[in-house]
């Protein structure tokens, strides 16, 4: 029974990682860059929901929508101001800029909202579903359900809409996509908007499970989700989903059966082993050499 409940907890944590990892993998797939500020967008999303609920007494749904709106605009703005001017620059310059944006957001949060930890109000009922001897909290069910819903919507969007086809085309060949009449800059903006909107959703799930809000809140989940994206094969949407879930399960199992202190080390050790065997991740596309 313990095993099952650990598995479900792992799926729940993994669902949050997966939602964040989708943002990393989509941006990488289309803009070919690692957006290390993605974790800090989660942090901004968490503050927005926190203030909406605590200070302005809005219902959770309104707070969430507001947070999605703010993060979406933030994501598009970051891309326009920080990354777009570097479209032709080396990937190292873009990477360093992304790290810079990350520090900028963390320090801006410290400046505006202080570095002291704020306690996120309890937003979902503490109840639990009893299944035989197994107790699954509603939060866990909502988290896993949200992840599946997000994934399903995203797959439908990517595979069955004109914009989704255009996004896939941009991820393969931006020049050829331009010849089709696709506005590549617009597609990149849309990608950042979707990734950042997902970060806002993740922030609520994260803060519901770990109810403290502080300026560096996004750093650790961000790096874990990035790991999940690489684990699953960066650039691949099903890969981010699978990588996120597996990472969550491995982390919870490592905590439960091996050592709480060593759990992060074990997670990264698994990543290293996977990358040694499959350098492109579990579902990553094999890199074809251009002739």
């Amino acid at each position: 029974m313990d095993f099952l409940s650990y598995l479900i907890n792992g799926l729940s944590l993994g669902s949050v990682y997966a939602i964040i990892a989708l943002g990393y993998t989509m941006v990488y797939g289309i803009a070919k860059m690692l957006n290390f500020a993605h974790g800090d967008v989660i942090m901004v999303g968490a503050y927005v929901v926190f203030f909406a609920i605590s200070s302005f007494h809005m219902p959770l749904a309104v707070g969430l929508l507001l947070s999605i709106a703010v993060c979406t605009v933030l994501g598009i703005t970051i891309e326009r101001l920080a990354y777009k001017p570097l479209r032709q620059a080396s990937s190292l310059s873009v990477l360093i800029t992304a790290i810079g944006v990350s520090y900028f957001l963390q320090n801006a949060a410290q400046l505006f909202w202080s570095s002291s930890t704020k306690v996120f109000p309890s937003v979902l009922s503490n109840g639990a579903l009893q299944l035989g001897g197994l107790s699954i909290s509603y939060l866990t069910l909502v988290t896993i359900g949200t992840c599946i819903l997000v994934m399903a919507c995203l797959m439908l969007f990517i595979n069955h809409t004109s914009t989704g086809r255009a996004m896939r085309a941009c991820s393969e060949d931006k020049g050829a996509a331009t010849l089709m009449g696709i506005n590549v800059n617009l597609i990149i903006s849309i990608t950042f908007a979707i990734g950042s909107g997902l970060a806002a959703i993740a922030s609520v799930l994260l803060c519901a499970a770990y109810p403290s809000v502080y300026p560096t809140l996004g750093a650790m989940p961000g790096i874990k989700a990035f790991t999940a994206a690489v684990f699953g094969g960066i650039g691949s949407i099903p890969g981010a989903f699978l990588g996120g879930l597996l990472l969550g399960i491995i982390e919870i199992f490592a905590k439960a059966y091996i050592s709480t202190q060593l759990s992060d080390a074990i997670v990264f050790a698994v990543l290293i082993i996977v990358l040694l065997i499959r350098p492109t991740g579990l579902l990553g596309r094999r890199i074809r050499e251009k002739v």
């Binding site: 004109s162 086809r165 255009a166 896939r168 085309a169 393969e172 060949d173 020049g175 050829a176 331009t178 010849l179 089709m180 009449g181 696709i182 506005n183 590549v184 596309r285």
Partner: protein, 234 residues
């Protein structure tokens, strides 16, 4: 009508196109021939907006193409089949063709247009649900041409369509180019296979290290001694 006037293009310090001018009239097949590195693909990329020229003008029916965003050009009626085909390998044949019509506003005739592409290239019909990366080189060339035709262009730019294909396929591709032209689409063709290109061209230009050195009808150039020795193997 496509008018190129005094076009200059540089890669950094190196001037690749040194002021060329030429005209493609409606209904014509025009070919640009020349050796590797003469600037043929560079010229094509400038016309379709993938490269910004240093100076000069590219007019399509009076619209200055160098001043509009590259993704808008296809909706003005100019489509390009790029060198190396550049099909979207992970998408199916049908998805590639639908992407070809991305910029069009009249999407209600999409199925008829798919059918007309399939009648021109029956082999694509058999493979419509297959990822394009699994097609042979010739099939990918057909797909790249079909994809460009889905934009319903008035002028079609073809960059090295015969590259890497077997002689039999080359004949087939050139036959199809003529057929497309007969249906009313103007064609600008860039080719290393000068013999085949001159045979179907109304007029032709010879490009040598960034300059147009000769021009004339396809027939005239095919008989020209300089062209014969340089491009037609004596």
């Amino acid at each position: 009508m496509l008018e190129i006037k005094d076009l200059r293009i540089s890669y950094g310090m190196i001037e690749a196109i040194k002021g060329i001018s030429f005209v493609v009239n409606d209904g014509e097949i025009i070919t640009l021939i020349g050796a590797n590195g003469a600037g043929k693909t560079t010229t094509m990329h400038a016309i379709s907006g993938l490269l910004k020229p240093v100076s000069g003008s590219i007019l399509l029916n009076g619209t200055e193409l160098t001043r509009i965003p590259p993704h808008r050009i296809v909706s003005l009626g100019l489509a390009q089949v790029p060198e190396g085909r550049r099909v979207f390998a992970e998408q199916t044949v049908e998805e590639n063709l639908v992407l070809g019509a991305y910029a069009r506003k009249d999407k209600e005739h999409l199925n008829e247009d798919l059918d007309s592409v399939f009648s021109l290239f029956p082999r694509l019909m058999e493979r419509r649900k297959q990822p394009s990366g699994t097609l042979s080189g010739g099939e990918q060339q057909m797909l790249a041409m079909g994809r460009a035709l889905m934009a319903k262009p008035s002028i079609l730019l073809l960059d090295e369509p015969s590259m890497g294909l077997s002689p039999l396929l080359v004949s087939e591709i050139f036959h199809i180019i003529e057929e497309i032209n007969k249906k009313g689409t103007t064609v600008l063709l860039v080719e290393q296979n000068a013999k085949r290109a001159l045979a179907i061209a109304d007029r032709a230009y010879v490009l040598e290290t960034g300059r147009i050195t000769l021009s004339g009808t396809g027939e005239e150039l095919a008989q020209d001694e300089r062209v014969k020795s340089a491009y037609l193997g004596g």
